[in-house]
């Protein structure tokens, strides 16, 4: 990490130093990003693939460490020294840059037609008129399970809520494994891996999320309280002392083979593949009754936008068009299993676990995390409150109804849905 950070720092300074010189032959475009971990993938795979097809354009990937990215990018925008291509955080952070005129509208970019509205939601204005970043990748929620444990105990992969709890009961009765690896100490595990993972099934994904934003549904309504009631039932299947179990604890419990089921985000795939010594499988959030439509959280995470003040807008647009292409999606998604392309053309994943995750897109309806768009703009912040309340429900500090009421009251205090 240290050497990587140093490397990226050196990269960044060398770019600043050379920015003044015009290259007579080639146009150079620079990518701003927080994904320092992806430096090798960009330099070895993505950039050569683009440059081979577009002679005359040189691309430089210049990442800043994630914790400094937002501040550093803001400062570079102000100073007029930001790169041509901007890697976009989802929702409000990028929207703010667009409103300030730092990001250009990409409505006329041909490649944008390769993406669905849900995929573009994270980088579209509230009225849906302007899109300003090409969606690059999303993360999908589901459950990763220990296949060896399931085989040993003769458990079939659960598809419904009843089967899910029957499986948990069986694992608990056997006693070899902790049924589920999740803790509430870090709060966000309960909210992100718990509430946002199973929730879409109950509030019907995008449909419920839109109603919530419009004010037609409230967090105290049954579809939003029910996931909390289910989470409360999880309590009995978590490990001893889950109240003080942290996120790395949960990861380790699962990869060491001590727990059978892990409520997951797909970003775990890369790490789990290298650490777990047993076979793994994955299943989507169980539906309530057999045959119900299934919903998954397919949450937009990374996009790519155009600096409105870029000196090379044409070349940069060419590059963004390529980012929107199936070719980019294929290279990117396979280099980083767990970060799935949002492109409408399905990508053939080589990693079996990633393949399983992405296959749910075909049978289930995708949605994004309910708290991210619009609803977390005020104080108290709905996302942060959801962390606290999800942990409270599992810890038994609050009942599902009380938690929902607290969240809705907090939201009501500043959010007035457009009538």
């Amino acid at each position: 990490m240290g050497s990587k950070a140093l490397k990226s720092l050196l990269m960044a300074t060398s770019i600043l130093a050379t920015a003044g010189f015009a290259h007579a032959a080639d146009t150079e475009i620079t990518i701003e990003s927080w994904r320092t971990d992806d430096l090798a993938i960009w330099q070895e795979k993505l950039i050569p693939a683009f440059e081979a097809k577009n002679p005359g354009i040189k691309v430089k990937f210049a990442p800043t460490p994630p914790t400094e990215y937002d501040a550093a990018l803001g400062a570079r925008f102000d100073a007029g020294s930001a790169g041509d291509i901007i890697t976009c955080r989802p929702f409000d952070k990028s929207l703010e840059q667009f409103k300030r005129g730092n990001l250009a509208s990409l409505n006329d970019l041909a490649g944008m037609k390769n993406f669905s509205d849900v995929a573009k939601a994270a980088w579209t204005t509230d009225d849906g008129k302007d899109a300003f970043c090409v969606p690059m990748a999303s993360v999908i929620h589901g459950f990763i399970y220990n296949k060896d444990a399931f085989d040993k105990l003769g458990i079939a992969v659960p598809a419904t809520e009843a089967e899910f709890f029957a499986a948990l009961d069986k694992i608990k009765a056997d006693g070899t494994y902790i049924p589920m690896a999740m803790g509430t100490k870090d709060l966000w595990e309960a909210a992100t891996m718990g509430y946002q993972n199973i929730g879409p099934t109950y509030w019907k994904g995008e449909e419920g999320r839109a109603k919530l934003i419009k004010g037609e549904e409230k967090l105290t309504d049954a579809p939003w309280v029910e996931p909390y009631k289910v989470l409360l039932k999880w309590k009995d299947y978590l490990g001893d002392g889950f109240e003080a179990q942290t996120y790395p604890d949960s990861q380790n419990l699962f990869t060491l083979g001590r727990a059978a089921i892990y409520p997951a985000g797909s970003w775990e795939i890369g790490l789990f593949n290298t650490q777990a010594q047993f076979k793994m499988g994955a299943f989507p959030p169980p539906v309530k009754n057999a045959g119900d439509a299934c919903y998954i959280s397919d949450h937009n995470d990374i996009g790519a936008g155009l600096n409105a003040k870029s000196k090379h807008p044409e070349e940069s647009k060419k590059f963004l068009d390529w980012v929107a292409s199936p070719e980019f999606a294929d290279i990117y998604a396979n280099a980083l299993p767990g970060f799935f392309s949002l492109n409408s053309t399905p990508v053939k994943m080589q990693d079996p676990l990633a393949q399983e995750f992405v296959s749910w897109r075909e049978k289930c309806k995708p949605t994004i995390r309910s708290t991210y768009q619009i609803l977390s703009r005020g104080t108290p912040n709905l996302e942060n409150e959801t962390w606290v309340e999800s942990a409270n429900v599992i810890n038994g500090t609050d009942t599902p109804e009380a938690a929902a009421k607290k969240l809705q009251d907090g939201l009501d205090s500043w959010y007035k849905p457009a009538k």
């Binding site: 803790g183 889950f242 003080a244 419990l253 912040n381 996302e383 606290v388 810890n395």
Partner: protein
């Protein structure tokens, strides 16, 4: 030599010479202190009277304070943080300082062997980074890998163990005790130094009068170290109401579970810098910082004017 002094003294009678060296020696420290302490403080106080409206920073008077104390949500988080902070402080006063005094008293027993070793060992945690302290204690108390459930199991008391850091009822006490463990070396060292300053003649005289052992501690040593205890109390007060780091490393910025370990420092951090999807609110952050400043200021003033002036000092 003497003539020069004579001359300057003569001149001083009609016109004091401009003692420019005082200025020269004071300026660097004054400049640095002004730049890194006084200006930010003034800027914080100023910022607490402003707020952003329609993208413009405008003067709003005491509106921010009205929101902090008047809005039920802001007030609830503020009073919760203040209450937790008081509990945090009281635990330090009741546990850390008496233990510090007791350790110092034990260390100053003349017949004690390995005194230097104990002194170093007990002071060592204070020198550790809070990141390390937070990390080790999280591991020690971890219900999964921790050594504490194992040790309790060895003596058959496993049933007493619970995930203390994760329960709203015990998390604050656990974090406070971790902080006590880390900082107990400071009162110990200060009191130890004060005890070494007690002249042997006083103690010998006491022994001649038959005052030994416990009564010697209560009647001779304790009154003589009271000024040091006063200083320690005020240091603890200032340190605790500025505390942030340990809670942040052990419990995270949301100071969970359910805000049970939220103190003024973590509330300020979340408000000022924002957290996760919450965007930082500089004006409200500065308002909380100002209230913290006033709390600490009034605490220190109370000590200086009400307690320290009445304290009796003994000169030898």
């Amino acid at each position: 030599m003497s003539t020069v002094e004579q001359a300057s003294a003569d001149r001083g009678n009609d016109k004091r010479p401009w003692r420019w060296h005082i200025l020269v020696f004071l300026t660097p420290a004054l400049l640095v202190y002004t730049a890194v302490m006084i200006l930010p403080l003034i800027e914080t106080l100023r910022l607490s009277l402003f707020n952003v409206k329609d993208g413009q920073s405008v003067f709003v008077g005491f509106d921010n304070f009205a929101v902090l104390f008047g809005d039920p949500r802001w007030a609830a988080s503020f009073w919760n943080a203040l209450k937790n902070n008081f509990i945090f402080f009281i635990i330090h006063m009741v546990v850390q300082n008496p233990i510090g005094v007791a350790l110092a008293a034990l260390l100053s027993v003349p017949k004690l062997r390995f005194g230097a070793f104990y002194r170093t060992a007990l002071f060592l945690p204070t020198l550790l980074s809070f990141v390390i302290v937070g990390f080790i204690w999280k591991l020690i108390l971890s219900p999964i890998w921790g050594v504490s459930p194992f040790l309790l199991d060895l003596v058959g008391l496993k049933s007493l163990f619970s995930p203390w850091l994760g329960k709203p009822g015990s998390a604050l006490i656990a974090v406070s005790l971790i902080s006590v463990w880390q900082y107990v070396g400071i009162p110990m060292m200060l009191i130890y130094a004060a005890m070494l300053n007690i002249p042997d003649e006083v103690l010998e005289a006491a022994e001649c009068d038959g005052v030994t052992g416990w009564s010697q501690f209560w009647k001779i040593k304790l009154p003589l170290i009271l000024p040091s205890i006063g200083i320690i109390s005020i240091l603890t007060f200032v340190g605790n109401f500025n505390a942030f780091d340990l809670v942040y490393t052990v419990q995270g910025a949301l100071a969970g579970p359910d805000g049970a370990t939220d103190i003024l420092g973590t509330l300020l951090y979340r408000t000022f810098f924002g957290f996760q999807l919450q965007i930082g609110d500089k004006s409200m952050g500065a308002t909380i910082a100002t209230v913290m400043f006033l709390i600490i200021l009034s605490g220190v003033c109370l000590y200086l004017f009400a307690i320290q002036r009445r304290m009796r000092r003994y000169q030898f």
